[in-house]
């Protein structure tokens, strides 16, 4: 496969390409001599070679040049990343946009334009994404020359334009960023005729905290605590992504007990999320018994989290090199009892949902995401699997203990409808699978060391990449250290980031009152999208 890709790219680019087995031995990085060759190269990788876009990473390199890496992953189960890299002169930072050919590149290219000033020429959407109105032109906060503590004054300027439908009988409904409930901030502008949504323009990045800039220059251990806080309900997944990336750079591996405990943490995180998300979908469908039942299950699981890890979001359990806290026999007993009970309660809740025609009527056919759109946007996690796309980073990019024992490998759950019902169904069956994995994990725990220490001298310049299956899908972490062993560049493509562009598509043709239901069936985070 690797040879075939080399040959394909070499031929398509007339040899103007240099290959490197990086970041990991099984990966390929193709350095393109000319940025103009990017569309042809991407055409080969995304087309005949069957890859989808995973992430875009821009770096401001020590030599003063900017590098943009388009990272692809195979659509089939294969633990490999293919990177197309181009080096740019910051004075003429421009490359041809891939968005029209590779729709998944849309937000990535807009983000790199905002934060690094790299212009994706021919991008169909000229609006800023991450930096909202009032940000001064020509100031790029992720460039190294930009001082992290600088706070540019708000520049006078027009509000960013919105994409709306105009015409007789078309109404525009603005919602947010401050919502009526306890929800994260985003602005949604519906164009509707009667109750039917014609178009939804979603504007995010209100919670952009500048964390990727903040983390630069931090020691690996300090940076871990920030990574763990990119998101609340994906704390374990992000913490683990950072850990696996730094361990790759350090050339160490967490000990077996730590790998098992990491799998336990990931599955406990998935379980409380899925239970709560099913409850929240019931809230969207006005099924209050279901809401209360789902939230009760979530609450008891979060209380379990606190008993096991000392924190209801499981923070402070992992650490680069392994885990920082062990789990004693008493906690294991509680885990066993709690997941057993959860299985029962979830099964009962699902039975009540599925046998209630008024609820099922709200879920069926609502917020349908066409399979082709799911493929084009390279969506991930529950969103993808509910469209029949059989992907799961636990199998495709094995992490924690998922590669160790066949019994720990998840049986990947899919559904075909792509609608709210399919997403609820996938979550419920996945929760059952998480319970099975948790039981397998705790049955296999043997005494042993909890962590390997990180070497004091970490290799500068080498890159760590890890894809972790969070409750919302694969979150991909890319990390590079500077010569002092501090973070030089850290970029995270969260599962929510990949999935958000699918929400407006699924909302089209829904009725406005169903939007909360559609939105809750995706249940995406804003925090780890906006960072």
């Amino acid at each position: 496969m690797a040879e075939a890709l080399d040959a394909l790219l070499g031929r398509a680019l007339g040899g103007r390409v240099r290959f490197e087995a990086a970041p990991r031995a099984q990966d390929v990085t193709a350095w393109l001599e000319r940025p103009e060759d990017l569309p042809a190269a991407a055409g080969e990788v995304a087309g005949p070679a069957g890859h989808s876009l995973a992430m875009l990473v821009a770096t401001d390199d020590p030599g003063g040049r900017l590098t943009v890496r388009y990272v692809f992953e195979p659509r089939e189960a294969e633990d490999r990343f293919v990177t197309l890299a181009v080096s740019l002169d910051p004075a003429r930072a421009e490359l041809p946009s891939l968005t029209c050919a590779v729709p998944a590149a849309n937000w990535h290219e807009r983000e790199v334009r905002d934060l690094f000033g790299v212009v994706p020429a021919g991008h169909p959407d000229p609006r800023p994404l991450v930096l909202h109105a009032g940000w001064p032109a020509g100031v790029y906060p992720m460039r190294k020359a930009f001082d992290a503590s600088e706070r540019p004054a708000v520049a006078p300027g027009e509000e960013v334009s919105r994409r709306v439908v105009e015409g007789g009988g078309v109404f525009e409904i603005p919602v947010g960023p401050i919502h009526a409930g306890i929800i994260e901030p985003g602005h949604f502008r519906f164009s509707s005729v009667g109750e039917t949504v014609l178009h939804l323009d979603a504007r995010l990045f209100y919670t952009h905290r500048g964390l990727e800039k903040r983390i630069e220059g931090m020691s690996a251990i300090d940076a871990f605590h920030v990574a763990e806080r990119l998101c609340g309900v994906c704390s374990v997944a992000h913490g683990l992504g950072f850990c696996e990336a730094i361990e790759q750079i350090a050339g160490i591996e967490a000990p077996p007990r730590a790998r098992l405990l990491r799998a336990l943490a990931l599955e406990l995180e998935r379980l409380y999320n899925h239970a709560g998300d099913i409850g929240n979908v019931c809230a969207g469908a006005s099924y209050h018994y279901g809401t209360s039942a789902g939230l009760r299950i979530k609450e008891s699981l979060q209380q379990l989290n606190e008993q096991v890890a000392g924190n209801r979001f499981l923070r402070g359990w992992l650490i680069p090199g392994g885990v920082q806290r062990d789990v004693g026999p008493e906690a294991i007993r509680r885990v066993r009892a709690a997941v057993f009970e959860t299985g029962d309660r979830l099964a009962d809740l699902m039975h009540r949902i599925e046998t209630n025609p008024t609820v099922v009527d709200r879920l069926d056919g609502t917020g349908e995401l066409p399979r082709q759109a799911a493929v084009d946007l390279a969506v991930t996690g529950v969103t993808a699997r509910a469209c029949g796309i059989e992907r799961d980073a636990r199998r495709d990019h094995p992490h924690a203990a998922f590669r160790d024992v066949p019994a720990l490998q998840p049986r990947i759950v899919t559904a075909q409808g792509g609608d709210v019902h399919a997403r609820v169904d996938v979550r419920a069956r996945e929760a059952g699978e998480s319970i099975r994995i948790i039981e397998e994990v705790v049955a296999r725990l043997e005494p042993g060391p909890l962590a390997q220490s990180l070497p004091t001298a970490l290799r500068a310049g080498s890159i760590g990449i890890a894809s972790i299956e969070s409750p919302r899908g694969a979150s991909i972490h890319w990390l590079r250290l500077d010569p002092e062993g501090r973070v030089d560049r850290y970029h995270v493509r969260s599962a929510s980031y990949a999935n958000w562009p699918a929400v407006p598509i699924a909302a089209e043709k829904a009725i406005v009152p169903d939007f909360p239901l559609v939105n809750k069936s995706f249940e995406l985070c804003y925090a780890c999208t906006d960072r």
């Binding site: 401050i178 306890i182 994260e184 500048g210 609340g232 209801r312 979001f313």
Partner: protein, 272 residues
């Protein structure tokens, strides 16, 4: 339908009686850092062990001081010595709300023999706005939630207050849809640049007297986001805070405690 009703009846009452009944967090819980008085000052962990800069060590020789800012603390436990053998451990106290930021600083000094001693601390207990709020509103408080750029952990804990276990409505506390119906705002996050005007405009729409409760390390101090091109560095940079609730995130009962402190229904001294 009948099955659902029977199931609900069988579940019984699941709601906690907090704050009337004091609850004990689990043994593993990481709450307020505790410094053992009389322990060796030299054995306190170096300030740079803290990933968020919550620890400050000042001075030389005998007149040294050591302070932990709970507004910054993310309760990660890195400052605990292995096996919790040092003079600094994370205890289980979670009722940590305060009216003023300085009240959240735990400070110790070194005596002549190098042992840890404690300076006198006075907590601020009364507050004008709180008295005013109580005069107008009595014991009830309706709040507008403002996500000012949180990681969503604090937000999820606020929504947990509405689940059947905490059910804060039993205490006369509720979250409302419009700032115009609110007695104040409960803010999570460090106030991002992209939300600053929304935060100010929401606050301006709340009728007076109005209260501001800052939830979690980011709201109280900027937290891990700090002050940067994208983040104001805490709610106090934008709004006048009445009560701070430390935590990363604070557990639901800690938030209930903070809200009741804001109302003057509980005293911050309860923790002393």
């Amino acid at each position: 339908m009948l099955g659902t009703i029977l199931r609900s009846l069988r579940a019984g009452v699941v709601t906690t009686r907090y704050p009337d009944d004091r609850t004990e967090p689990p043994l593993a819980f990481r709450g307020a850092p505790e410094i053992r008085l009389g322990g060796r000052f030299a054995e306190l962990p170096a300030a740079d062990v803290c990933p968020v800069g919550a620890i400050t060590a000042r001075g030389e020789g005998a007149r040294r001081s050591y302070a932990i800012d709970l507004a910054r603390c993310i309760f990660c436990g890195r400052c605990e010595a292995p096996g919790r053998k040092g003079p600094l451990t994370l205890g289980r106290d979670f009722e940590l709300s305060a009216r003023r930021r300085p009240d959240l600083v735990i400070e110790v000094t070194s005596d002549e023999e190098g042992a840890i001693a404690a300076p006198a601390v006075a907590l601020t207990t009364s507050d004008e706005v709180s008295a005013q709020i109580r005069a107008v509103l009595g014991r009830s408080l309706h709040l507008r939630h403002l996500d000012a750029g949180s990681c969503n952990a604090c937000d999820w804990e606020l929504s947990a207050l509405l689940n059947p276990v905490y059910d804060v409505r039993r205490l006369g506390i509720d979250f409302v849809a419009s700032p115009r119906h609110a007695d104040g705002v409960i803010v999570t996050g460090s106030v991002t640049r992209n939300l600053e005007s929304a935060v100010q405009r929401t606050w301006a729409a709340v009728p007076e007297p109005r209260i501001v409760i800052a939830i979690g390390a980011c709201a109280a101090s900027g937290g891990i986001a700090g002050r940067s091109y994208a983040s104001a560095g805490g709610v106090s940079e934008v709004l006048p805070i009445d009560v701070l609730v430390p935590g990363c995130p604070p557990r639901p009962e800690a938030i209930i405690f903070g809200i009741l402190v804001a109302l003057g229904r509980l005293d911050v001294r309860r923790r002393a």
